[in-house]
Amino acid sequence: MKKGPTIFGRRKRFALFLGLLLVVVPRAVWATQVHAEPEGLYAHQLAHAFFLVSMGILVYWLRERHLTQHRGWRYLQYAAIFFILWNLDTMFVHHLEGREDLFLTFSKGTLQAALQPFPGREWLTWAFYLGKMDHLLCVPAILFLYLSLRELIRTGYRFPRSENG
């Protein structure tokens, strides 16, 4: 694994760049918005990006070590992938949340609350609506983490004695 770190480093940088893009793009959009203190949201988005990148690295890393041949590690990989999807999802949702040109909200704060998309914004509204249900992604993620740990315990996983890592 001599060449590894450089490749890894390049990919990591690339991933970070992607993450930054995701954060910077909304900024351009919100530039028109009147938002008193946007730092909180930015920090939150950056944290999501960071989380996402680290999960990507974890997946890459698990695959490179061929650990995914073991079911326990494979579950961990799935967990990481779900977390990645979840991160993308939440970032997307956070991004849309600030926009007021997508839909109208009725009966906000009640059980009868509903969304009314503006004409021509149906698709985005739909995407936002589905994205809002982010637990559909993060629950499987943590479930896989749980399964992974359980599997590692069950099989009494031992690391190979000497790994050429």
């Binding site: 909180g40 690295i57 890393w61 070590r65 809002k132 249900m133 993060c138 629950v139 943590i142 890592g165």
Partner: protein
């Protein structure tokens, strides 16, 4: 089209609850994992991730549940107050999970290194333990191996027919093998340990030989095939071929010489004999040529002399002169005949005969003569001696010569012993004629078989006796050997081969 918000709320509430439950379960499991293998930092990592995720799940889950409930419960103001905390905690937990994961790779590498080091340490430790435990066995094994090797070389040392000697630079014998002891006549009870062994240099016939040899070894580190004369402790002179190598022994801080010494006396003697035989053969050829030419004129001289004597009345001066001529011509003729028989030109008539009878005949002729000089004759005949095919007359001449020589060497008062021995192994008969006469000087020894070599005055000996005998014995495919010690006596040994098994019936 309106999208109802309640499914989102439901998923949010349920999902948050599930997140909390599973993250707590994850923490429990990772604790369990870690307790399985405490040293493994990867488990520690998973534990950390689980903790961070739990923190995240709880903060977010609780936040979301609270948010929904507060908003539904119409208290958005409280939520507005809580919201920044919930959001910040969420952000921090993401960062923690991300950071921990990014470090995972490093941790893993470090962990692998630790594992490798641990393994190496373990291995070294085990090796040490093994060595410790088996040191005694190993030493024993090595010792046995050494002993075996030592035994092997010892055997070479012990059974070698050549002398092997270890000598220090000063010349002190440190060790010498049995062959060497025998060669030098060193008693077996002397060992190098008490340094009771004599000085090696003292065995050299010429001390300067030893000094020169030492110098050469010290200079070149070896000497090969040097021919030197050694003198054994009992005075025996031994011709040897000597090879030596030096070795620097650090512990003693001196050079050690290793000698391999081969006794070549035998070979030397043989060479001498060959030389002798060669010389005699050429002299024989020369003599035979002359003898043959002289024989005829001599016969004519003798014939005419006898003719003249017959015509001359006895008692006159002329008669006496002619008699003198006749006598001397006869002597010449005998000499010539002797020469001829030495060179084997003369005809031989071989027949089966008893050697003992032949010797007895000679003894009966000379006995009276010997008794006059008080010389006793002793016989020691081996009854196993078989009959031989030989020229009786010639053999008689041989023994006559040997016995007369012995008599002349004794002068008056002494003994002559005639021994016969049969060696069935080598199929040969040895007849030894011993006397206690004056002996032969070592310088004369190589020459006594030369024709005309004599130490006796003119008229007494011609110096042909031994050379003629030598020719006769050679003609019988035999050999004559001499041993002599000045002042003590001489032994002439006639060796005759037994050619045919048919004649192997003992005769007296």
């Amino acid at each position: 089209m309106q999208l109802p918000f309640w499914p989102v709320l439901l998923v949010d509430l349920l999902g948050s609850a599930l997140m909390i439950v599973f993250s707590i379960l994850c923490v429990r499991l990772s604790f369990q994992l870690r307790s399985q293998d405490r040293e493994n930092v990867v488990w520690t990592y998973l534990l950390m991730v689980s903790h961070a995720l739990t923190a995240f799940a709880v903060s977010r889950g609780v936040g979301h549940i609270a948010k929904e409930l507060l908003i539904l419960g119409d208290r958005p103001d409280i939520w507005a107050a809580l919201r920044p905390y919930s959001g910040s905690i969420n952000t921090i937990t993401f960062c923690v999970v991300g950071a921990v994961t990014l470090f995972f790779e490093r941790i893993w590498r470090v962990y692998q290194q630790v594992l490798r080091d641990k393994e190496a340490l373990q291995e070294a430790h085990e090796k040490l333990l093994f060595m410790n435990k088996h040191l005694e066995d190993l030493v024993l094994e090595r010792t046995q191996e050494l002993a075996r090797s030592e035994g092997k070389y010892r055997r070479i040392f012990e059974v070698s027919r050549d002398m092997i000697a270890v000598v220090d630079a000063g010349g002190t014998l440190l060790d010498i093998n049995p062959a060497g002891r025998e060669m030098l006549g060193i008693p077996h009870h002397l060992t190098g340990r008490e340094s009771a062994l004599p000085d090696f240099g003292s065995f050299f016939a010429r001390r300067e030989d030893w000094d020169r040899l030492r110098e050469r070894i010290l200079r070149d580190c070896y000497v090969s095939d040097a021919e030197v004369d050694l003198v054994a402790a009992d005075g025996r002179e031994v011709n040897v071929l000597l090879s030596a190598a030096s070795e620097c022994e650090v512990s003693r801080k001196t050079e050690i010489f290793h000698f391999v010494v081969k006794d070549i006396s035998q070979r030397k003697a043989m060479q001498q004999q060959l030389l002798q035989a060669d010389k005699l053969a050429s002299i024989g050829q020369l003599a035979a040529g002359i003898a043959h030419e002289i024989n005829n004129p001599l016969g004519i001289i003798l014939g005419y002399t006898q003719l003249l004597i017959r015509e001359e009345p006895e008692g006159t001066e002329r008669y006496e002169d002619l008699k003198t001529i006749e006598r001397h011509s006869r002597t010449c003729k005998t000499i010539v005949e002797d020469l001829l028989s030495f060179s084997r030109r003369a005809h031989t008539k071989k027949e089966t005969a008893s050697l003992h009878e032949t010797i007895e005949e000679v003894l009966s002729v000379v006995r009276h003569n010997l008794e006059l000089d008080q010389i006793q004759v002793e016989k020691d005949f081996d009854p196993a001696v078989p009959l031989l095919v030989l020229d009786k007359d010639k053999m008689r001449q041989v023994f006559m010569n040997l016995i007369m020589n012995a008599k002349q060497a004794i002068g008056k008062d002494g003994w002559i012993r005639v021994e016969t021995r049969f060696d069935p192994g080598r199929r040969q008969i040895r007849v030894a004629v011993r006397d206690n006469g004056c002996g032969i000087k070592p310088g004369d020894l190589p020459r006594i078989f030369d024709p005309f070599f004599t130490t006796k005055g003119t008229g007494e000996g011609t110096g042909l006796g031994l050379s003629v005998s030598y020719g006769i014995v050679k003609n019988h495919a035999g050999d004559i050997l001499v041993e002599s010690q000045v002042g003590e006596g001489s032994t002439f040994t006639v060796v005759l081969p037994v050619e045919n098994e048919d004649e192997e019936n003992a005769g007296t």
